[in-house]
Amino acid sequence: MPIILIFFLASGWSALVYQVVWQRVLFRVYGVDIHATTYVVTAFMLGLGVGSLLGGALSRRFPTHSIFLFGAFELGIGLFGLLSINLFEWVARFTAGTSDLFVACLSFSLLLLPTLMMGATLPILTGYASQRSKNVGQSVSQLYLVNTLGAALGAWSAGHFLLSALGLRGSSVVAAVVNLSLAIIVLLVWRRVSMPSNVQETQARIASA
């Protein structure tokens, strides 16, 4: 469990770095007027909400694959993060200066995939953790705690170090490297644990926990 918490802290850190960076890029392209900014922020939150529902459904359907799902989503977030600035700028070439409604739809489309994956991770890990601790409040609190702590550190470090040192593109690459590293470690661990010889041992450990 402690290692999961550390991973989830790192995941929260990179999520907020992305939020600060992506908002800046999209505000620049679609404007910093109140409507454009609201659409971008709303798109971010709605993506997290939809992702949460998806994560919940996956957690129920594949209760023994939580670690794999977490790793897969981190991989997806990292890959998107790596390409995000280029993608936003490419789309902006054709859509800058467009109508408010289109900005709303576009913001949602651009942010849906990564925020959906971010939103899915909390229910997935909660399902995994609460099965082990038998206490939902503790599991949610612990995961929510480390994730928001990571997010707080992400917001702070983006504003005070990353953007001044690396700019928008460099900051998003650093966040992507964090996600990709997490994904690789998590997926390697999952592969090791899910090998037939290790399954029984793991199940026994869970049962005795």
């Binding site: 907020l16 600060v20 505000f27 620049r28 679609y30 404007g31 910093v32 007027d33 109140i34 409507h35 454009a36 609201t38 709303t42 939150m45 709605l46 997290l48 909400g49 939809v50 949460s52 529902l53 998806l54 994560g55 919940g56 459904a57 996956l58 957690s59 129920r60 209760p63 939580s66 800058a96 200066g97 467009t98 909390l122 229910p123 997935i124 909660t126 399902g127 995994y128 609460s130 099965q131 601790s133 038998k134 206490n135 939902v136 409040g137 503790q138 599991s139 949610v140 609190s141 929510y144 928001t148 702590l149 707080a152 917001a155 983006a158 504003g159 953007l163 700019g167 928008l168 593109r169």
Partner: protein, 546 residues
């Protein structure tokens, strides 16, 4: 706790939390004059608060492990759905008592969060005014309230969801409801309420809503009449007290945030215009502040004795472009430049793109510039300047950027190489971009790199694709002949003398007022160029010249 109540509470707690965040961002942004770190700092404080709240709820839910586990196993043995509702059906007697206690705990947290949330803005304003506290000290206050708000979501999850294979899915519903509530809070409070209501009214309405919600939860957790009566009376008393105390608590709140301990007794703004896009305040002397930062002064008099906002720079325009017919002005500021330029005989059209409609309203209220807003040559567009340029193909003789201070959030949008290249594409032949570098050396270097022809006049930069000719004789002639609302701007008996004083090349803050592109490039050889990506003046390079 049943599913519907849990979902509703989750959504409402998200609504309240995001609404507070928006009110705090307005306050903190005003206090920091729109610092680029304001968003990330506030976000960090808010999230640290949520972290503390999660820790508190972790502690509060420790004792329930055995109970939840037994509830699950009993519910499972009766073949019931293990999702929401298992607790109530399986251990009925215990559950009623526990349920009431849970609801009461939530009610107390919600009321506590809203009371402290209501007091946050006045407390910060008072701290800045009375004790001259640094702006960063506002952040722990935000975090404390966020901690109380942040406790509710994990507690709701703990009270409503049993631990089983459906836990993840059940949580996802609560989380989604929380996010739907947060989104609604962002839209309703940020987009609608702040456009029609003051910060004070929004704070009172939000706190009253939270008080009612918390009160209703405590009320429903009590079973006897006297407890319910006391709860109702307490809620009404607190609510009434909040309403009655809000005028003195919020009195001169923006003045306190702006002037701090320098605010004299009785001094208050001439006008405060609050819109969703931001707050514009006007001091008794006519100084305009946008989001707590200086943004101009109502004045069109170029006489150096009265020209506090150096409106002479606006009078210069026809002397650096021979026939300025079409002008694009990005940023209205005090509208003084608009008033001056709209009255010039060669000008046929001035398009003003302004993000915040509060500036237009402030200008309408000023006798000095009010007529410019409805001037037949003037077209005002409410929106983002870059977005306007991207959406329109129009070309202009003069593009004027009323730039915000280079270190403020989003200043890059009008100072970067990328923006200047965009503006350059919207120039007619021999057109000029005329913008305020706000003395930033990086802005001066960037302009010199983008334009093949460039000059600095005081803190302004003049960039063009063609050689720039400054006609000082015309400047004097124009000043003498210039009329606003049918009246000469300079007195007839001293017009020539004053015009000569205006044009005189007196040093600008100890340095020559004019500088060529080559001189700038020599002076700033090692200075980097501002780009959309590095946003260098916002985050790191704060050096100025002169």
């Amino acid at each position: 706790m049943n599913r519907s109540l849990a979902l509703a509470l989750s959504a409402l707690s998200g609504f309240i939390a995001l609404s507070y965040e928006i009110l705090w961002f307005r306050t903190y942004g005003f206090l920091t004059e729109g610092s680029p770190q304001a968003f990330s700092d506030l976000m960090a404080a808010y999230l640290f608060g949520l972290t503390a709240g999660a820790f508190l709820s972790y502690w509060l839910s420790r004792e329930d492990t055995a109970f939840q586990a037994s509830a699950l196993s009993t519910g499972g043995s009766r073949g019931l759905s293990p999702a929401y509702g298992a607790i109530e059906i399986t251990v009925e007697e215990q559950t009623k008592g526990r349920f009431r206690r849970q609801v009461m705990i939530l009610g107390v947290f919600i009321i506590g969060a809203n009371l402290t949330g209501f007091l946050t803005v006045p407390a910060i304003a008072e701290g800045v005014h009375q004790y001259n506290i640094a702006e960063e000290w506002a952040l722990p206050l935000f975090a404390v309230v966020a901690a109380l708000l942040g406790t509710t979501f994990p507690l709701i999850a703990h009270f409503a969801i049993p631990p089983n294979r459906a836990t993840g899915q059940s949580l996802s519903h609560l989380y989604a409801a929380n996010i739907v509530g947060s989104t609604a809070g962002s839209l309703l409070t940020g987009l609608i309420a702040l456009d029609h209501l003051s910060l004070q009214t929004c704070s009172v309405v939000l706190a009253l809503g939270g008080l009612l919600l918390g009160g209703a939860l405590i009320y429903s957790s009590r079973t006897n009449f006297s407890d319910r009566l006391i709860t109702t009376a307490m809620v009404m008393l607190i609510g009434l007290h909040m309403i009655l105390q809000s005028p003195p608590l919020f009195d001169r709140v923006y003045e306190k945030l702006l002037y701090g301990d320098g605010l004299s007794e009785g001094k208050r703004f001439q006008s405060i215009i609050e819109k969703a896009a931001g707050v514009v305040t006007v001091s008794p002397s006519g100084t305009v502040y946008g989001g707590g930062s200086y943004d101009g002064y109502f004045n069109t008099n170029p006489d150096p004795k009265f020209d506090g906002n150096r409106s002479l720079r606006a009078y210069l325009v026809p002397s650096i472009h021979p026939t300025p017919r079409d002008i694009l002005m990005i940023g209205l500021g005090s509208a003084s430049w608009l008033q001056i330029l709209a009255e010039h005989p060669t000008v046929e059209r001035v398009v003003v793109v302004e993000i915040n409609p509060a500036y237009v309203e402030a200008a309408r209220n000023s006798a000095i510039v009010a007529s410019s807003i409805d001037h037949p040559k003037v077209e005002i567009v409410i929106g983002d300047g870059r977005r306007y340029l991207n959406a329109h193909q129009d070309k202009f003789d003069v593009i004027i950027n009323n730039t915000i201070a280079y270190w403020r959030s989003h200043a890059t949008n009008l100072l970067s190489r990328d923006y200047l290249e965009l503006a350059k594409r919207h120039l007619k032949p021999r057109g000029i971009v005329y913008w305020n570098s706000t003395k930033s050396i990086a802005a001066q270097k960037t302009g010199a790199v983008v334009f093949p022809y460039l000059m600095r006049f005081q803190n302004m930069l003049i960039g063009s694709n063609h050689p720039i000719n400054v006609n000082k004789t015309r400047w004097i002639q124009d000043l003498i002949a210039w009329k606003i609302n049918g009246r000469f701007v300079l007195p007839r008996n001293a017009a020539f003398k004053i015009a000569q004083d205006v044009v005189a090349e007196s040093p600008w803050k100890g340095e020559p007022p004019w500088e060529s592109r080559e001189e700038i490039l020599d002076r700033l050889e090692d200075v980097p160029v501002i780009t959309d990506d590095n946003m260098i003046t916002e985050w790191s390079l704060k050096d100025t010249f002169p």
